[in-house]
Amino acid sequence: MSAVLLIAIPLLVAFVSILSKKLAPWLLLATPIANLVLLFLVPTGIVVIGGFQPPFGISLLLDTYSFIALFAVNALVFVIGLLNVKEYHQFSSILLVALAGLNGLILTNDLFNLFVFLEIAGIAAYLIAASNKKPASVFHYLVLGAVGSSFYLFGLIILYAMFGTLNMVDMIEKINAATVSASALILPFFLMFVGLGVEAKLLPFNSWVKGVLGSSNTMSGPMFASVYAVTVSFVFGRLLNNLFAFQGNLLVVVVAILLLGIALGEAMAFSSKKAREILLYSSIAQASVVILLFVNGLVLWGALLAVANAVSKFVLFYVVTKAQKEVGCDDLDSLQGMFQGNYVVGVAFSVAALSVIGIPLFAGFVLKLGYLTELAANANWLAIAVILVASLVEGIYYVRMLVKLWYPGEKEVKVSFGNVATVVIALAAALLLVFGVYRGPIDNLDNTIDSVSEVIDLG
């Protein structure tokens, strides 16, 4: 039993699945489940591949941090697969490869290997986005993604030339050991930051998001907004805490990018009228918040926020895309009163939205309070102010949206969600509710995650 199975099994299944169209959807459903089971069986720690000890061979790292992400990703992929298995059965193999790529991204401890998995996940993402039937916007995504990963590779190669290693842990040790001037690291770090920033939806590099998520469907919407978002956040978190040492100008630029991303993301959402657009701009802001937390060294809170956002965004995007599909339009005005016949979905949607805003009783509140406290302890008042103002704006448009969706307009809107979807959405919302009230597990994690940076060690 080895954590590498989490990557190998989806890959093997993906290779096999192209042989039978009928079997592929079932394989898609079975694989994440198998992974979830495996996740609890495999031992944690460094996983050596090919018998070559790190830093020479490629190694993976399974710790509490990656465990959280893997759990979220596999569970969400299962759920998304379950809800779309009928309609998008021809995407089964692609989703399987995507799953392998995402698991790899989370697990890998090697910078070049990260690039390879970034490409796997990226290409899978282009194809998932292709299900929107908007080739031009996907092409846009493809170009940006390709450029982004080229940037990443460029930065990585410069680092290799400087330090002669590709292993993350080895790299950081060498960086710390060599007394490098901060300016020497600006170029590689920023190139890598941009490369990942494209996928992480950070502000100036994310013009693909509008085209892709703005016309997303029940599969691609949740896939990008929750699964990909959580994965890339975690990868970012790992790099930010184990590799990037932002200083001086670079730190200023990075923080400015993130703060701008938060503020402008919310402003853009505020100025939108279409449900999917509102959600996608809001998720831009949320992604920036998560990464801002990582930049500030709040690993625990960043990670948990990423997961909570993934769950909420899954609910929000699924409901909205489903409604869009049935109504044919996602203008808020044309969806008025859609929860009238769907109380359960409506409540779940409201819970998810309120959790994103960070309102008491829901998971988002506990997290918001947690990270704001930590930021306050670091006396990071600017970040707090921006986040608070942003959440104010966010709250206003979410409330506007909720009120519209609950109370009918002139035309009656009927959307049927089906039993499976209703149950799944309700469960997701229930999770948000439970973790909003019962914060025991979070308190327990406190210690384990804080020690993560120490766990990552060659021994």
Binding site: G50, A100, L187
Partner: protein
């Protein structure tokens, strides 16, 4: 005007990058690289898992890695996991091309504008064989000489491309490619899993590595390279097929 601005901007960036790298004391000057400081120093000596002493072509046996081509040793042994990922990238690209261009319903060849004459047809058949054989050779000797699964597989694909070009009516069996692709890919993963089962680690070389420089040496490396070659060949052939056929849109 806009173009000039963009030009100045990008070239300026390039110049800045060059200056930045020059000013970077840790960044080696071109050609002035000290490999001993890099992890690849041990790859060259084949002594990652313990010092092996000198590796001598045709003499050293049972090295931790038996490939004479050191690039191959990295690609399919030291960093084999990357290569698995790389194969996956190609796999998913071909899946994607099929998804995007494979229109449901009857498919027909894209008619080329020229009519190939008899000579061309016969000549290309002959050439097909030669290229195919070269491809196979390149794959099989990947661990000894330059080349390997990727260029070899691409050669196989180009030989098939030649058939497409030479004959308007020609179509291979896509289904066959698919099976080949699937089997080759699965076998790669299975080889990796065998490493996990028979030895300790995923993708570990579980066969004896033989003498450096022999054709039958380097353990699983040639096997993996053959699989990669088959997979790459079939995938690229599939991509070509999709680019050269079109659905009955009308």
């Amino acid at each position: 005007m806009k173009k000039l601005f963009a030009f100045v901007l990008t070239i300026g960036l390039g110049v800045l990058m060059i200056f930045s790298l020059r000013a970077n004391t840790l960044f080696p000057e071109f050609g002035d690289v000290s490999i001993a400081d890099r992890i690849s120093a041990l790859f060259l000596d084949k002594s990652v898992n313990g010092d092996n002493g000198d590796v001598v072509f045709g003499q050293t046996t049972d090295a931790e890695d038996g490939a004479a081509n050191l690039v191959t040793s990295i690609v399919v042994d030291y960093r084999s996991f990357d290569t698995l990922g790389e194969v996956t990238v190609l796999f998913i690209s071909s899946l994607g091309v099929a998804l995007l261009l494979g229109v449901a319903g009857k498919q027909k060849r894209l008619a080329l504008n020229f009519k190939p004459n008899f000579m061309l047809r016969v000549g290309s058949r002959a050439l097909f064989g030669i290229i195919l054989m070269t491809g196979v050779y390149v794959i099989l000797h990947g661990h000894l000489t330059p080349g390997g699964g990727f260029p070899g597989g691409a050669m196989i694909a180009s030989s098939i491309l030649l058939l497409y070009l030479a004959d308007d009516e020609f179509r291979t069996k896509v289904k066959g490619f698919k099976v080949l692709e699937s089997v080759a890919g699965s076998l790669y993963v299975i080889v990796g899993l065998l490493g996990l089962v028979l030895a300790t680690y995923f993708l570990q070389n579980f066969l004896p590595t033989g003498t450096v420089g022999d054709l039958f040496s380097a353990g699983v490396l040639p096997i993996v390279y053959v699989l990669i070659g088959l997979k790459v060949g079939s995938e690229i052939s599939g991509i070509i097929d999709h680019f050269l056929t079109e659905g009955d849109l009308a």
